[in-house]
C-alpha cells in the first residue's frame, strides 16, 4: 500500500477513535453519520485542502463546510488532529462553556468555517463563499459535505440551481450517502434517487465513488476532476457507523452516543484496526 494511502487510513481510524471517545464523554450526539464521513474528512484535512491551522483565517485557504452539521464530531476530531486546538478540548464536547457545540459554531471553534446544523443552510452558505472567492479571483476551493437525508430540503435544490447558474467550478460538494436518516432508510422515508441524475440535470459534474476507499476519494477530490464552469458533486456511497461493527448500518445509531461499555467495545475494534494498518506494509 502506498505510504500516502496508508497514512490517510491511519488518520481516518484515529478520527473514528476520537469520535467514539468524545461522544462517549458527551453522553449524547451523532455517532453513525460522523463515522460514515471519517474517510472523506481525513482525505480533505490531511491531503487535499490547503489550509493553515496556525492561521485559520488565511485568506487564500481552501474551506470545508460541514452542512450536515450533526456530524461535527468528525470535524472536531480532524481540526484537533490538524492542530487547530488542543485534543483535550474534544472531551468537552456539548458541555457548558465548551468551544465545541452540539452543532458547529464558527465563532466558537477555530477552523469551523460556518455554523450549521439546520440542514441545507451550510450548502447555500458554501455557495456564497464560492461566489465571493470567484469575485476576488481567489484560488481557493470550497468543499461542502451534505447528508443524503439533507437532500430532502428544498434549499439544497435552490442551491444546486444557483451554483451551476453562476458556474462555480471552485465548489465541490460531497454527499455522504449512507442511506439512513433518523426515521429509517432514506429510500423509505423520502426517496432521493436517482441522485446522480438529479445533480447532473442541475448542471453539476457528478462522480460516484465508494466513500470509504481512500484512492477513490482522492481521485474524486483532485483538481483534475473539475470541469471548467461547473460545480462538482461527489456521491460517496458510505456505511453509517462505519468502522464499529455493531453500529454499521444501524439506524438507531444516528443520534445516539455509546455508553462507556459500548465505547470500550468500539475502541477495542478501532485500536485493533489501527494496529493492523500500522503493521501492514
Amino acid at each position: 500500500m502506498p505510504d500516502k494511502i496508508k497514512e490517510l487510513k491511519i488518520k481516518a481510524t484515529q478520527l473514528r477513535i476520537d469520535i467514539i471517545k468524545m461522544l462517549s464523554a458527551a453522553g449524547s450526539g451523532h455517532s453513525g453519520g460522523s463515522l460514515s464521513a471519517a474517510d472523506i474528512v481525513a482525505c480533505l484535512y490531511f491531503s487535499v485542502m490547503r489550509h493553515n491551522p496556525q492561521n485559520p483565517r488565511w485568506e487564500e485557504r481552501d474551506r470545508f463546510v460541514l452542512s450536515k452539521g450533526h456530524a461535527c464530531p468528525v470535524l472536531y476530531a480532524a481540526l484537533a488532529e490538524a492542530g487547530y486546538f488542543p485534543k483535550e478540548e474534544l472531551l468537552t464536547l456539548r458541555k457548558l462553556n465548551s468551544i465545541l457545540q452540539g452543532h458547529p459554531d464558527m465563532n466558537k471553534t477555530p477552523g469551523v468555517e460556518f455554523s450549521s446544523g439546520s440542514l441545507g443552510q451550510g450548502f447555500a452558505a458554501a455557495f456564497g463563499m464560492a461566489l465571493g472567492y470567484k469575485l476576488d479571483n481567489k484560488p481557493g476551493r470550497i468543499f461542502v459535505m451534505l447528508g443524503d437525508g439533507e437532500c430532502q430540503e428544498g434549499i439544497v435544490w435552490e442551491t444546486a440551481m444557483g451554483a451551476s447558474h453562476y458556474k462555480l467550478d471552485n465548489l465541490t460538494a460531497i454527499l455522504d450517502y449512507n442511506n439512513l436518516q433518523i426515521d429509517g432508510k432514506v429510500s423509505e422515508i423520502m426517496e432521493i434517487a436517482p441522485i446522480v441524475d438529479k445533480f447532473r440535470a442541475f448542471g453539476w459534474t457528478v462522480y460516484e465513488i465508494d466513500g470509504h476507499n481512500i484512492e477513490e476519494i482522492l481521485w474524486a477530490l483532485s483538481t483534475e476532476r473539475i470541469v471548467a464552469g461547473k460545480p462538482t458533486m461527489i456521491i460517496a456511497r458510505t456505511v453509517k457507523g462505519k468502522g464499529v461493527s455493531f453500529m454499521e448500518n444501524q439506524v438507531d445509531w444516528h443520534g445516539k452516543a455509546p455508553t462507556p461499555q459500548e465505547a470500550e467495545l468500539a475502541l477495542k475494534e478501532l485500536y485493533e484496526e489501527l494496529e493492523r494498518l500500522k503493521e501492514d506494509g
Binding site: D105, S115, S116, G128, M129, G132
Partner: protein, 318 residues
C-alpha cells in the same frame, strides 16, 4: 402637506445603494427576482459583477449572502418583507443572526401599504420576527432622506441589520441636515402633554395628527423611533418622564413591533399609560394603500384618538 415632494423608501434605498457602490468596493447586492420593485436594479445595471440575482429563492439568498460575508463582502440582500423576514426567517436566524455576520437585509413592501396585491404580499409581522433574533438590529426609515443615511450607516455598522422599506411614494419629511445614527431616536417636535413614538411612514401620519391635536390645545411630542432595535431607551424615557403618557404608532401588527418594544421598556422602567396604534392582529385586504391605512386604524384621526385616550388615562391615574 399637499405640496411636498414624495418618494418611496424603496426607491431611496436603490439610489443610495448605487451611491454606496461607487465608494465601497466590498458592497455586493443580492435579490430574488424583485430587483425592479426593490430598485436594486439600479445597482445591478451599474455594477453587474457585484450583483447576484438568486431567482425566486429567498432562503438560498439569505444563506448565500452569509457566505459572501465570510469572504469580506458587505452583502445587501433584498426582497419583499414577507419573503425576506417571513419565508426565510430560520435562515436569517441561523446563517445571519447566530453567525453574527455582516449582512444587511433590506426588505421592501413592508406593512399593508403594499396595497392592491393583498394580504399574501403584505407584511405586518416583520419587525416582530426580526426583533427576536439576537444580534439583529432593526431599522425603519420614515422617509427617503432617512433611508439614504440609514443605508450608509448600515454599511459602516459591523453586524446584521434589517432595514424595513415601503412601497408607496410618501412625503419627504427631512432635509440633508437630518442626522441619522443607528440606535438613536429623534425628537421631531417637542411637546409636554403626550409622547407619540412612531416609525416608518406612520411618522408622516403622526405629523398630520399633531395638527389635529394642536387644534384641540394638546401639545404632543413626536419622536421618530427609526431604530426599533437597539431601542433608544434614554430618549424614550426622557420624553415619557416629561409627558407621562404615550402612543406608539406603526404600520405593523400591534403584537411584537414598536408598540411592544416600548411597552416592554416602560413596563420595566417607567410604567405609564400607553396606547398602541397599529394593525389590530388581523390580515388586511386588497385596496389602494391610502384606503387601507384608514380602514385598518392607521390614520391621523386614529393617532389623535389614541392620544386623547392616553391623556385621559394619565389624568384618571392622578
Amino acid at each position: 402637506m399637499a405640496e411636498q415632494a414624495v418618494k418611496s423608501t424603496r426607491r431611496a434605498y436603490g439610489e443610495a445603494l448605487l451611491e454606496l457602490g461607487e465608494r465601497e468596493e466590498r458592497v455586493v447586492v443580492l435579490d430574488a427576482d424583485l430587483s425592479k420593485s426593490t430598485y436594486t436594479n439600479l445597482f445591478a445595471k451599474r455594477f453587474p459583477h457585484r450583483f447576484f440575482n438568486m431567482g425566486i429563492s429567498e432562503c438560498k439568498m439569505i444563506c448565500c449572502a452569509a457566505g459572501l460575508a465570510t469572504t469580506g463582502k458587505i452583502p445587501f440582500a433584498s426582497s419583499f418583507a414577507v419573503f425576506a423576514a417571513g419565508r426565510a426567517w430560520e435562515m436569517v436566524r441561523l446563517s445571519i443572526g447566530y453567525t453574527n455576520l455582516n449582512v444587511k437585509i433590506a426588505a421592501s413592501h413592508a406593512g399593508i401599504s403594499v396595497g392592491e396585491d393583498g394580504p399574501t404580499h403584505h407584511c405586518a409581522e416583520d419587525i416582530a420576527l426580526m426583533r427576536v433574533i439576537p444580534n439583529m438590529s432593526v431599522l425603519v426609515p420614515a422617509d427617503a432622506i432617512e433611508t439614504r443615511k440609514m443605508v450608509f450607516a448600515a454599511a459602516e455598522w459591523e453586524g446584521p441589520i434589517y432595514i424595513r422599506l415601503g412601497r408607496p411614494d410618501i412625503p419627504i419629511l427631512f432635509d440633508d441636515s437630518y442626522r441619522f445614527q443607528i440606535g438613536k431616536a429623534y425628537v421631531i417636535k417637542e411637546g409636554k402633554d403626550v409622547s407619540i413614538f412612531a416609525c416608518g411612514l406612520m411618522v408622516w401620519q403622526a405629523i398630520e395628527a399633531l395638527e389635529l391635536l394642536e387644534k384641540e390645545g394638546i401639545d404632543a411630542e413626536l419622536v421618530n423611533v427609526s431604530t426599533v432595535k437597539p431601542l433608544d431607551e434614554e430618549t424614550i424615557l426622557r420624553s415619557l418622564s416629561k409627558t407621562g403618557c404615550a402612543v406608539s404608532v406603526e404600520e405593523h401588527n400591534i403584537i411584537g413591533g414598536l408598540g411592544s418594544a416600548i411597552a416592554e421598556l416602560i413596563g420595566e422602567k417607567l410604567p405609564a399609560p400607553l396606547e398602541r396604534v397599529g394593525i389590530r392582529d388581523r390580515f388586511a385586504e386588497s385596496a389602494n394603500w391610502k384606503e387601507l391605512l384608514k380602514k385598518y386604524n392607521l390614520s391621523p384621526q386614529d393617532i389623535r384618538d389614541s392620544a386623547i385616550r392616553a391623556l385621559r388615562r394619565k389624568v384618571e391615574k392622578r
